[in-house]
């Protein structure tokens, strides 16, 4: 048996409401709230980035895993907002948790799917017996261009998973990936903000890949939607994951425990992984959970996990995802948000 032995979340406390952004750009807030089902999003403080959130999420995962960090043989950080263009995030993380030097480390980038990529890799390494434990993190402090539709959703958060063969709290049943080349969203080298293909990011991109991955995964595992207790899909806005779930034949109750986006925004590499941590927080032994990510460019990673009895003792060993989401919030005005996100031109 191999699977997740520990998981952890981290979300910054700052929030900005859709109305606050819309007010600045003269946009129609109700249409964003209704059309995209977005209410507010998380915002990192100036002293938070992908690395700091990865460390905190990983420490929470370690609290649940109760393992010696020196036994972690691989550390992967998936993000499209690594603080350095050249110099790994993963080394800081590995050093901070005490996994160095006997460890393989890599930074991953694949738009919003870099987090599940790390999970895919460590599951393979653990299953093959190459490492005892692997740590996979999805984290982002993504930027949407001021006034762009993405500004209403681009948020900050991190989720971390420790994978191993002993004391798993969620066993891996099946994995599957679905990938094509797809210029739906990109950011060129040296560019500060990403560009996207508007409605082209929908049907041929998000929907095609998630549906392809989910169907392929369920076929490979020989299960039907009714066999799954919970499902998590990538959450670029509120509407897409609900719509894709409906197309695939899932009920809302299967989706909503991991559907965080209306109050969180799109945390990119952390998006579906945070959906998984939130779902694990409320799951019971025997529950079957499917997660399907989506990263522009484009691809989807799919996983089916079966929750074990260990979830009962593990889940309370670290803060829950909804605690980060609902407690100690600090609402920002657009000016402070702009300052925090480096959107104000200052003197050299």
């Amino acid at each position: 048996m191999h699977g997740i032995v520990g998981y952890g979340a981290y979300i910054p406390r700052n929030r900005i409401k859709v109305e606050e952004i819309a007010k600045v750009w003269g946009a129609d807030a109700p249409s964003y709230k209704k059309g995209l089902m977005l209410e507010e999003k998380s915002v990192p403080s100036p002293d938070q980035d992908t690395i700091t959130m990865s460390v905190e999420a990983s420490k929470n995962a370690l609290r649940r895993a109760k393992i010696n960090p020196a036994d972690i043989g691989a550390v992967y950080v998936g993000s499209e907002s690594h603080p350095y263009a050249v110099k790994p995030s993963g080394t800081v993380l590995a050093e901070a948790i005490g996994a160095t030097p006997d460890v393989h480390t890599a930074d991953l980038e694949f738009a919003c799917k870099a987090g599940t990529e790390g999970l895919f890799l460590v599951l393979g390494l653990v299953k093959a017996g190459e490492i005892k434990y692997g740590l996979a993190v999805g984290a982002d402090t993504s930027q949407g261009a001021p006034g762009d539709a993405l500004e209403y959703s681009a948020a900050a958060g991190a989720a971390a998973f420790i994978v191993g063969k002993e004391n798993v709290l969620a066993e891996t049943i099946e994995t599957y990936s679905y990938t094509t080349d797809m210029p739906d969203f990109w950011r060129r080298e040296y560019q500060y903000y990403p560009r996207h293909g508007g409605r082209f990011t929908g049907e041929p991109a998000y929907f095609k890949h998630i549906i392809g991955a989910a169907k392929g995964l369920m076929a490979k595992a020989k299960i039907k939607p009714i066999d799954l207790n919970y499902v998590i899909f990538h959450q670029p806005n509120g509407k897409f994951p609900l719509r894709v779930g409906e197309i695939l034949g899932f009920r809302k109750e299967q989706i909503l425990p991991g559907w965080l986006v209306s109050k969180l925004g799109n945390t990119y590499s952390g998006s579906s992984p945070l959906g998984l941590t939130a779902t694990l927080d409320i799951s019971k032994p025997g529950d079957m959970i499917m997660i399907v990510s989506y990263g522009s460019g484009a691809g989807s990673d799919g996983f089916i996990f079966k929750v074990t009895r260990r979830i009962q003792e593990a889940r309370d060993l670290a803060p829950k995802t909804r605690d980060f989401l609902d407690k100690n919030k600090n609402y920002l005005e657009y000016g402070v948000y702009a300052k925090f996100r480096g959107k104000i031109r200052k003197a050299e």
Partner: protein, 130 residues
């Protein structure tokens, strides 16, 4: 521009809160030392600081040095950890009027400052309400 070596050699303390525990009297030194300030002994075991503590005293820095200009105003406290060690650090994620002597806090990993837009980013610990 300083080379990153100076910060790098402090990573065990700043990233993992490594401290030295005197093999003779048990006093914990942070950062680790070669000579125990309590008993003068020179052998230590590696240990980690307690993760929780309480604010002994605090201030709000409103006139910062240049590296911290973007962060001001910010709170700095001396925190007494549950193992008795006292540490200086920023208190973040807490409204200023909620910071009080005795406030329970815990460590969190944060960005301290960076050498401009192109330089090294320095990470370390700050405190958040526990």
């Amino acid at each position: 521009m300083p080379t990153p070596s100076r910060a790098w050699r402090e990573f065990p303390q700043r990233y993992r809160l490594e401290a030295g525990k005197c093999k003779k009297c048990g006093a914990v030194s942070f950062p680790p030392r070669l000579v125990c300030p309590v008993c003068g002994w020179r052998e230590f075991t590696k240990t980690k600081l307690a993760e929780n503590g309480k604010v002994l005293t605090y201030t709000i820095i409103r006139v910062p040095p240049h590296q911290f200009a973007d962060q001001a105003p910010y709170a700095v406290a001396i925190v007494e950890l549950s193992d008795g060690v006292k540490v200086t650090g920023q208190v973040v994620d807490c409204d200023f009027d909620k910071i009080k002597i005795g406030l329970r806090v815990k460590f969190e990993f944060r960005k301290m400052y960076s050498e401009g837009e192109a330089g090294v980013i320095y990470y370390g610990y700050k405190f958040v309400p526990a």
